[in-house]
Each structure stands twice: as structure tokens, then as C-alpha cells.
Amino acid sequence: MLRVSGRRIVRTAAVTLAAMVAAGAVIGPAVAHHSGAVYFDMNSQITVEGVVDEFVFKAPHAVLKFIVVNDQGEQELWRAETLPANLLFRRGWRFNMFEKGEKIKVTGNPAKEADRHAVELQQVVAEDGTVYKPFD
């Protein structure tokens, strides 16, 4: 497993901003505290590769923070927002399921505002190929 600190990424992860228009597939449910559709473009998806920085397993939204190295070789901090910890727990997720430095591939709906490194999480693929989805 790739173990790196926030500052020292030893392997360059490709940023693939392959916008896949998922026509009609508005997947994210309207879960209070807010609906993902307020801040994220639920009609498009991007996939971003990086390494886990921190999994904030809290209410009202859990956030998977991860570090990405962009095409210029610079580090970027990304956030994947998802369901509250309470709902994730009942779906089998746990606060310690991701390790800092673990390589992941995150697919989600991009932020509507420009210059935001944030997505509404649709799925995480771990390095061993395990797929985690917050909802079906």
C-alpha cells in the first residue's frame, strides 16, 4: 500500500477529468442536510485519482479528503462529500475503512462553482479493485 504524508507524494496520480454525461441518471438522493443538487452538477460525473488524506466520518455529511497531483505536478486537496456517517454506517461503511495514503479512484458529480476541487461522491474504487458506493 502506498504510504505517503500529505506533503510527500511519491507517485504521480493521473487526474482524469473525463466528464461522462450520465443523461437522466440523477443518482444522488436528496438527503438533508442539503441536497447534492444544490452545489453539484448531478448530470455530469468526473473521475479523479489520488491518495486518501482523511475520511471525516461525521454528520451532516461525511467527507473523503484526498490528495491529487495534477498535470503540472502540483498537489491539490480534493473533497468528496457524501451521506452522513449514520447512513453510511448502516450501509456497511466504517470510520476507519480508508487508510491515509491509500490509493483511490473517486467518481462523483463535480461542483457547480468554478475552481472547486469537490465532488458529490458516487463511488470509490480502492487499489485492490473493491468498489464502495454510498447508495445504490
Binding site: S5, G6, R7, P29, A30, V31, A32, H33, H34, S35, V38, Y39, V56, K58, A59, P60, H61, V63, K65, I67, Q75, E76, L77, R79, E81, P84, A85, N86, L87, F89, R90, R91, A111, E113, D115, R116, H117, A118, F135, D136
Partner: protein
Amino acid sequence: MNDIRWTVRCGARVLAAAGVALLLGTGGVWAADAEHPDFTGMWLGGDGIGQSTTARKSTSWPRPAPLTEAGKKAFAAYDPKTDDPPEDCMPWGLPRNEVFTFYPMLLTRTDNMLLMTLEYEPVPRRIYLDGRDYPTDIPPQWYGYSVGHWEGDTLVVETRNIREENIITTDGLPQSDQMKVIERYRLLDDGNTLEVETTAIDPVYYTEPMTITVYWERADDVEQHEFVCAEGLIENITTPSSEQDKELGD
């Protein structure tokens, strides 16, 4: 004489113990209300996200909503980023039933009220069952002031004094301080399903009453956990990337 006193005392203790047993332990039947259905226990919502497997599907509020002119204005003016109280970790409040079923609901009873603990909410909701009058000296509440009565096996709850700055749906259907909410609770499927039919009556913003029906499934093995919304008031969504990157290396 002493023997008689002893006998009376023992008898009273036995009776008291039997009463407590009846109250707490015997099949969930409360002595205070043995003639009515028992709604107490843990319930899981039936909308998939709550993970219940019930075949009964909850309904939604009617769309388009029967808005008055004032209602149309309020609905059009709604901005989800600034006008949605839960964005600031305020309660959902009644009657935002479309979201209640996302989290388990615990119903408990005292002898004069039903207590509803929604996992999302910081405090339980109180539904008084003793036929009391609605107070006139308390400020509006997120869940209003609820008094219930039985109509056969159905618990009918009327709620007044609900805070008007709240909304009924996440997309901003408005509510006024004139709104009353009538709920009808009844058990189905041998007591394993709780049906809650909720009607909002708000003559300021709607031309007619609106009704939504949600279903809950008994889930005795489900736990509720803390849900501390304020703890996670997160800035991330509106944080420009350059600001966000400053966290790198923390």
C-alpha cells in the same frame, strides 16, 4: 394487627411490581394505555435509503403544489443556500416528512405522551395524549405543539404553533404561521408497519390541504447513533481550491 399490616404491605408491593412489569416488560404493552395499539419501538423508513425492505412505498407531497399567489411568491423567492434551516443545522421540523424516513425513529411512551426520537434531530418530539389545551404562551416550535387522540386504532395528532421560517420540502415549499398539521398513525401488517398519513393545512400558502403518507417498518435490531450536525458544519463546498489547498500538509 402487625400480621395484617405486613400482609397489606406485601400485597401492595406485589401489585406495584406487577404494575411495573406490565408497564415495562410484557410485550411492550403499557398499562396506561393497554386498549390501544402499541407504537413504541424502533422504526426504519421504507424508502430504500433508510434500508427498510418494506414493499410499501411512501408518497410525496403533491406536485405541482396547490400554491396560492402568496405561496407562489414565497416558493419562487426560496434560495436553498440561504433559506433552508437545516443548512445551519437547525431541525427539519414538521411537516418535512419526505426526509424523516432516512433515519431510524424511536417511539417511546410515558403515561401522558408519545416521544418521537428521530436520529437526525437533537431533541425528541412530544405528542401529548392527555387531551390538554394548546398553550398560548409559548413561542412557535420547529415541531409545533402536538396533541393526539384516538379514533379507534388510529392515533390522530393535531399540531399547531409551528415556526413559519421553516419549509416543507428541500426545494422550498413554504409554510406560514397559520399552518396546522394533522397526522394519522396506525399499524398495518400485524403491527410490523407503521403508517403515518400527514396533512398540512395552510390557507396562507395553499389553496387546499396537502397529504403525504410514509411507512415505517419495525426494526428492533437497529441502533440509533449520535448525529451532531454542528460538529460537521463543513466549509468545503464553497471553498475555492486555492483556500482548500492550504490544508495540505497539516
